[in-house]
Protein backbone atom coordinates (compact mmCIF):
# COMPACT_ATOMS: atom_id res chain seq x y z
CA UNK A 1 0.00 0.00 0.00
CA UNK A 2 1.25 3.45 -0.93
CA UNK A 3 0.26 6.86 0.17
CA UNK A 4 0.32 9.85 -2.17
CA UNK A 5 0.40 13.39 -0.82
CA UNK A 6 -0.80 15.64 -3.62
CA UNK A 7 -0.60 19.43 -3.71
CA UNK A 8 -2.59 21.46 -6.18
CA UNK A 9 -2.03 25.18 -6.49
CA UNK A 10 -3.02 27.87 -8.93
CA UNK A 11 -0.38 28.56 -11.57
CA UNK A 12 1.79 31.49 -10.60
CA UNK A 13 0.56 33.38 -13.64
CA UNK A 14 -3.03 33.19 -12.37
CA UNK A 15 -4.25 35.70 -9.80
CA UNK A 16 -5.01 34.05 -6.46
CA UNK A 17 -7.45 36.25 -4.52
CA UNK A 18 -7.61 33.83 -1.58
CA UNK A 19 -3.85 33.90 -1.23
CA UNK A 20 -3.89 37.67 -1.46
CA UNK A 21 -6.54 37.94 1.23
CA UNK A 22 -4.57 35.71 3.56
CA UNK A 23 -1.44 37.74 2.86
CA UNK A 24 -3.23 40.94 3.85
CA UNK A 25 -4.58 39.28 6.97
CA UNK A 26 -1.14 38.09 8.00
CA UNK A 27 0.33 41.52 7.35
CA UNK A 28 -2.31 43.13 9.52
CA UNK A 29 -1.18 40.78 12.29
CA UNK A 30 2.32 42.15 11.96
CA UNK A 31 3.91 39.51 9.72
CA UNK A 32 5.56 41.99 7.41
CA UNK A 33 8.17 39.81 5.79
CA UNK A 34 5.77 37.97 3.49
CA UNK A 35 6.53 38.12 -0.21
CA UNK A 36 3.63 36.00 -1.43
CA UNK A 37 0.92 33.60 -0.29
CA UNK A 38 -0.53 30.86 -2.47
CA UNK A 39 -3.54 28.85 -1.45
CA UNK A 40 -4.21 25.40 -2.78
CA UNK A 41 -5.67 21.98 -2.16
CA UNK A 42 -4.08 19.06 -0.38
CA UNK A 43 -5.29 15.58 -1.27
CA UNK A 44 -4.17 12.33 0.37
CA UNK A 45 -4.76 9.08 -1.46
CA UNK A 46 -3.87 5.57 -0.37
CA UNK A 47 -3.58 3.05 -3.20
CA UNK A 48 -2.36 -0.38 -4.12
CA UNK A 49 0.43 -0.72 -6.69
CA UNK A 50 3.15 -3.14 -7.69
CA UNK A 51 5.89 -0.71 -6.76
CA UNK A 52 6.53 2.94 -6.18
CA UNK A 53 7.07 3.70 -9.86
CA UNK A 54 3.71 2.27 -10.76
CA UNK A 55 2.06 4.20 -7.91
CA UNK A 56 3.64 7.43 -9.11
CA UNK A 57 2.48 6.80 -12.66
CA UNK A 58 -1.08 6.20 -11.45
CA UNK A 59 -1.14 9.30 -9.28
CA UNK A 60 0.25 11.44 -12.06
CA UNK A 61 -2.53 10.19 -14.32
CA UNK A 62 -5.16 11.01 -11.64
CA UNK A 63 -3.81 14.53 -11.31
CA UNK A 64 -3.87 15.14 -15.02
CA UNK A 65 -7.25 13.60 -15.65
CA UNK A 66 -9.36 14.80 -12.73
CA UNK A 67 -7.67 16.29 -9.71
CA UNK A 68 -6.21 19.39 -11.36
CA UNK A 69 -7.19 21.64 -14.23
CA UNK A 70 -4.01 22.24 -16.26
CA UNK A 71 -5.35 25.53 -17.61
CA UNK A 72 -5.16 27.17 -14.20
CA UNK A 73 -3.50 24.74 -11.82
CA UNK A 74 -0.15 23.03 -11.17
CA UNK A 75 0.24 19.84 -9.20
CA UNK A 76 3.01 18.08 -7.37
CA UNK A 77 3.03 14.94 -5.24
CA UNK A 78 5.10 12.60 -3.16
CA UNK A 79 4.49 8.89 -2.91
CA UNK A 80 5.58 6.93 0.14
CA UNK A 81 4.96 3.51 1.65
CA UNK A 82 1.80 3.62 3.73
Amino acid sequence: MFEAAIKITLKKTVADPQGLTVKHALESLGFNSIANVWMGKFIRITLNAKDKTEAEAKVSEMCKKLLSNPIIEDFSFEVSNA
Binding site: L10, A15, P17, Q18, L66, I71, I72
Partner: protein, 225 residues
Protein backbone atom coordinates in the same frame (compact mmCIF):
# COMPACT_ATOMS: atom_id res chain seq x y z
CA UNK B 1 -37.75 19.98 -32.37
CA UNK B 2 -36.71 18.41 -29.08
CA UNK B 3 -34.75 19.92 -26.20
CA UNK B 4 -32.93 17.91 -23.56
CA UNK B 5 -31.91 19.10 -20.09
CA UNK B 6 -29.01 17.08 -18.65
CA UNK B 7 -29.38 16.31 -14.94
CA UNK B 8 -26.35 15.60 -12.78
CA UNK B 9 -26.63 14.91 -9.07
CA UNK B 10 -26.52 18.45 -7.69
CA UNK B 11 -27.96 20.21 -10.75
CA UNK B 12 -30.47 22.72 -9.44
CA UNK B 13 -31.52 24.83 -12.42
CA UNK B 14 -32.69 21.78 -14.39
CA UNK B 15 -36.36 22.34 -13.56
CA UNK B 16 -36.08 26.06 -14.36
CA UNK B 17 -34.65 25.41 -17.84
CA UNK B 18 -37.27 22.73 -18.41
CA UNK B 19 -40.03 25.16 -17.36
CA UNK B 20 -38.88 27.89 -19.74
CA UNK B 21 -38.57 25.58 -22.75
CA UNK B 22 -41.88 23.88 -22.07
CA UNK B 23 -44.08 26.68 -20.75
CA UNK B 24 -42.61 29.80 -22.30
CA UNK B 25 -40.93 28.65 -25.52
CA UNK B 26 -43.62 25.94 -25.79
CA UNK B 27 -41.36 23.27 -27.26
CA UNK B 28 -40.94 19.59 -26.33
CA UNK B 29 -38.31 18.98 -23.66
CA UNK B 30 -37.04 16.01 -21.64
CA UNK B 31 -34.71 15.50 -18.71
CA UNK B 32 -31.62 13.35 -19.42
CA UNK B 33 -30.14 11.53 -16.40
CA UNK B 34 -26.35 11.75 -16.33
CA UNK B 35 -25.90 7.99 -16.29
CA UNK B 36 -27.59 7.63 -19.70
CA UNK B 37 -25.27 6.42 -22.44
CA UNK B 38 -27.47 7.29 -25.43
CA UNK B 39 -29.02 10.48 -26.70
CA UNK B 40 -32.37 10.05 -28.33
CA UNK B 41 -33.00 12.47 -31.22
CA UNK B 42 -32.34 15.71 -29.40
CA UNK B 43 -31.83 18.96 -31.29
CA UNK B 44 -30.55 21.11 -28.48
CA UNK B 45 -28.98 20.13 -25.16
CA UNK B 46 -29.04 22.35 -22.11
CA UNK B 47 -26.43 21.77 -19.40
CA UNK B 48 -28.11 23.57 -16.49
CA UNK B 49 -26.73 25.42 -13.52
CA UNK B 50 -26.32 24.10 -10.01
CA UNK B 51 -23.64 22.40 -8.00
CA UNK B 52 -22.99 19.14 -9.84
CA UNK B 53 -21.40 16.77 -7.34
CA UNK B 54 -21.51 19.62 -4.85
CA UNK B 55 -18.79 21.38 -6.86
CA UNK B 56 -16.51 19.37 -4.60
CA UNK B 57 -12.95 19.24 -6.01
CA UNK B 58 -13.60 21.85 -8.72
CA UNK B 59 -16.74 23.20 -10.40
CA UNK B 60 -17.82 20.83 -13.16
CA UNK B 61 -14.74 18.62 -12.82
CA UNK B 62 -16.54 15.46 -11.69
CA UNK B 63 -19.65 15.94 -13.82
CA UNK B 64 -17.44 16.07 -16.86
CA UNK B 65 -16.76 12.34 -16.38
CA UNK B 66 -20.43 11.33 -16.15
CA UNK B 67 -21.35 8.77 -18.84
CA UNK B 68 -23.66 11.19 -20.65
CA UNK B 69 -20.82 13.63 -21.31
CA UNK B 70 -19.24 11.32 -23.90
CA UNK B 71 -22.51 11.58 -25.82
CA UNK B 72 -22.75 15.33 -25.31
CA UNK B 73 -19.26 15.71 -26.77
CA UNK B 74 -20.13 13.54 -29.77
CA UNK B 75 -23.37 15.48 -30.25
CA UNK B 76 -21.50 18.79 -30.18
CA UNK B 77 -18.82 17.54 -32.54
CA UNK B 78 -21.53 16.63 -35.03
CA UNK B 79 -22.80 20.21 -34.90
CA UNK B 80 -25.66 19.78 -32.39
CA UNK B 81 -26.58 22.85 -30.32
CA UNK B 82 -25.35 22.79 -26.73
CA UNK B 83 -25.85 25.55 -24.21
CA UNK B 84 -24.17 25.46 -20.81
CA UNK B 85 -25.46 27.89 -18.20
CA UNK B 86 -23.44 28.75 -15.07
CA UNK B 87 -22.37 25.34 -13.70
CA UNK B 88 -23.17 24.01 -17.17
CA UNK B 89 -20.64 26.46 -18.63
CA UNK B 90 -18.08 25.19 -16.10
CA UNK B 91 -18.81 21.60 -17.16
CA UNK B 92 -18.29 22.50 -20.83
CA UNK B 93 -14.96 24.13 -19.99
CA UNK B 94 -13.83 21.07 -18.04
CA UNK B 95 -14.96 18.85 -20.92
CA UNK B 96 -12.90 20.89 -23.36
CA UNK B 97 -15.90 21.87 -25.50
CA UNK B 98 -15.08 25.49 -24.78
CA UNK B 99 -11.67 27.05 -24.10
CA UNK B 100 -10.56 28.55 -20.78
CA UNK B 101 -11.30 27.92 -17.09
CA UNK B 102 -13.15 29.47 -14.15
CA UNK B 103 -11.55 30.99 -11.09
CA UNK B 104 -13.21 32.11 -7.87
CA UNK B 105 -14.96 35.47 -7.97
CA UNK B 106 -12.57 38.27 -7.26
CA UNK B 107 -14.44 39.28 -4.08
CA UNK B 108 -14.38 35.63 -2.89
CA UNK B 109 -18.15 35.70 -2.36
CA UNK B 110 -21.05 34.05 -4.07
CA UNK B 111 -22.76 36.77 -6.15
CA UNK B 112 -26.46 36.69 -6.94
CA UNK B 113 -27.85 39.77 -8.64
CA UNK B 114 -29.08 41.24 -11.87
CA UNK B 115 -26.28 42.47 -14.10
CA UNK B 116 -26.19 44.22 -17.44
CA UNK B 117 -24.65 42.45 -20.40
CA UNK B 118 -23.63 43.79 -23.76
CA UNK B 119 -24.44 41.57 -26.74
CA UNK B 120 -21.20 41.37 -28.74
CA UNK B 121 -22.05 38.82 -31.39
CA UNK B 122 -25.49 38.20 -32.87
CA UNK B 123 -24.20 35.86 -35.54
CA UNK B 124 -24.72 32.65 -33.55
CA UNK B 125 -27.66 30.25 -33.21
CA UNK B 126 -28.09 31.55 -29.65
CA UNK B 127 -28.11 35.30 -30.09
CA UNK B 128 -29.68 36.15 -33.44
CA UNK B 129 -32.75 37.68 -31.77
CA UNK B 130 -30.65 40.42 -30.15
CA UNK B 131 -29.22 43.51 -31.76
CA UNK B 132 -25.45 43.90 -31.72
CA UNK B 133 -24.44 46.18 -28.89
CA UNK B 134 -27.80 45.73 -27.14
CA UNK B 135 -27.68 46.02 -23.35
CA UNK B 136 -29.67 43.29 -21.58
CA UNK B 137 -30.50 42.65 -17.92
CA UNK B 138 -29.94 39.04 -16.76
CA UNK B 139 -29.06 37.73 -13.28
CA UNK B 140 -25.86 35.95 -12.28
CA UNK B 141 -25.56 33.53 -9.35
CA UNK B 142 -22.18 31.93 -8.88
CA UNK B 143 -19.08 31.56 -6.78
CA UNK B 144 -16.71 30.82 -9.63
CA UNK B 145 -17.48 32.96 -12.64
CA UNK B 146 -14.15 34.66 -13.00
CA UNK B 147 -13.32 33.55 -16.54
CA UNK B 148 -9.67 32.92 -17.31
CA UNK B 149 -7.79 32.10 -20.49
CA UNK B 150 -4.17 32.68 -21.45
CA UNK B 151 -3.19 35.54 -23.77
CA UNK B 152 -2.98 33.38 -26.85
CA UNK B 153 -6.39 31.92 -26.13
CA UNK B 154 -7.90 35.34 -25.63
CA UNK B 155 -6.46 36.52 -28.94
CA UNK B 156 -8.06 33.47 -30.59
CA UNK B 157 -11.44 34.18 -29.02
CA UNK B 158 -11.32 37.74 -30.28
CA UNK B 159 -10.07 36.85 -33.74
CA UNK B 160 -12.84 34.30 -34.22
CA UNK B 161 -15.46 36.58 -32.73
CA UNK B 162 -16.30 33.97 -30.09
CA UNK B 163 -17.20 36.39 -27.29
CA UNK B 164 -21.00 36.64 -27.27
CA UNK B 165 -21.72 38.49 -24.02
CA UNK B 166 -19.64 40.92 -21.98
CA UNK B 167 -20.45 42.38 -18.55
CA UNK B 168 -21.12 46.10 -18.60
CA UNK B 169 -19.89 46.29 -14.99
CA UNK B 170 -17.67 43.31 -14.29
CA UNK B 171 -19.00 41.59 -11.12
CA UNK B 172 -16.48 38.77 -10.72
CA UNK B 173 -13.17 39.78 -12.25
CA UNK B 174 -13.67 37.83 -15.50
CA UNK B 175 -10.95 38.45 -18.03
CA UNK B 176 -11.91 41.02 -20.65
CA UNK B 177 -15.40 41.21 -19.00
CA UNK B 178 -16.31 37.90 -20.62
CA UNK B 179 -19.74 36.56 -19.62
CA UNK B 180 -20.41 34.13 -22.45
CA UNK B 181 -18.53 32.54 -25.35
CA UNK B 182 -19.14 30.14 -28.21
CA UNK B 183 -16.79 27.59 -29.72
CA UNK B 184 -15.23 28.28 -33.09
CA UNK B 185 -18.01 26.38 -34.84
CA UNK B 186 -20.60 28.42 -32.90
CA UNK B 187 -22.81 25.49 -31.97
CA UNK B 188 -21.73 25.43 -28.30
CA UNK B 189 -22.49 28.39 -26.00
CA UNK B 190 -21.35 28.77 -22.41
CA UNK B 191 -22.53 31.65 -20.25
CA UNK B 192 -22.44 32.47 -16.55
CA UNK B 193 -25.65 34.58 -16.41
CA UNK B 194 -28.98 32.75 -16.23
CA UNK B 195 -31.28 33.47 -19.19
CA UNK B 196 -33.88 31.07 -17.75
CA UNK B 197 -34.23 33.39 -14.75
CA UNK B 198 -35.14 36.30 -16.97
CA UNK B 199 -37.55 34.88 -19.49
CA UNK B 200 -40.87 35.93 -17.95
CA UNK B 201 -42.05 39.37 -17.00
CA UNK B 202 -43.10 38.26 -13.48
CA UNK B 203 -39.37 37.86 -12.82
CA UNK B 204 -38.84 41.55 -13.72
CA UNK B 205 -36.92 40.90 -16.95
CA UNK B 206 -37.55 38.99 -20.18
CA UNK B 207 -34.12 39.85 -21.55
CA UNK B 208 -32.91 36.25 -21.41
CA UNK B 209 -35.73 34.84 -23.49
CA UNK B 210 -34.32 35.85 -26.92
CA UNK B 211 -31.62 33.21 -26.38
CA UNK B 212 -34.26 30.47 -26.33
CA UNK B 213 -36.15 32.15 -29.14
CA UNK B 214 -32.95 32.36 -31.24
CA UNK B 215 -32.39 28.63 -30.77
CA UNK B 216 -35.98 27.85 -31.77
CA UNK B 217 -35.67 29.97 -34.88
CA UNK B 218 -32.32 28.48 -35.86
CA UNK B 219 -33.60 24.94 -35.43
CA UNK B 220 -36.68 25.77 -37.48
CA UNK B 221 -34.55 27.24 -40.24
CA UNK B 222 -32.49 24.05 -40.16
CA UNK B 223 -35.45 21.84 -40.80
CA UNK B 224 -36.49 20.94 -37.24
CA UNK B 225 -40.10 21.73 -36.66
Amino acid sequence: MKFGVVVFPGSNCDHDCYHVVKEVLKQPVEFIWHKETKLDNFDCLIIPGGFSYGDYLRCGAIARFSPIMEEVIKFANKGGLVIGICNGFQVLLEAGLLPGAMLRNKNLHFICKFVELKVENTDTPFSSEYKKGQIIRIPVAHNEGNYYIDEKGLAELKKNNQIVFRYVENPNGALDDIAGIVNKERNVLGMMPHPERSSEIELTSKDGFPIFESIRKWLKEHGKS
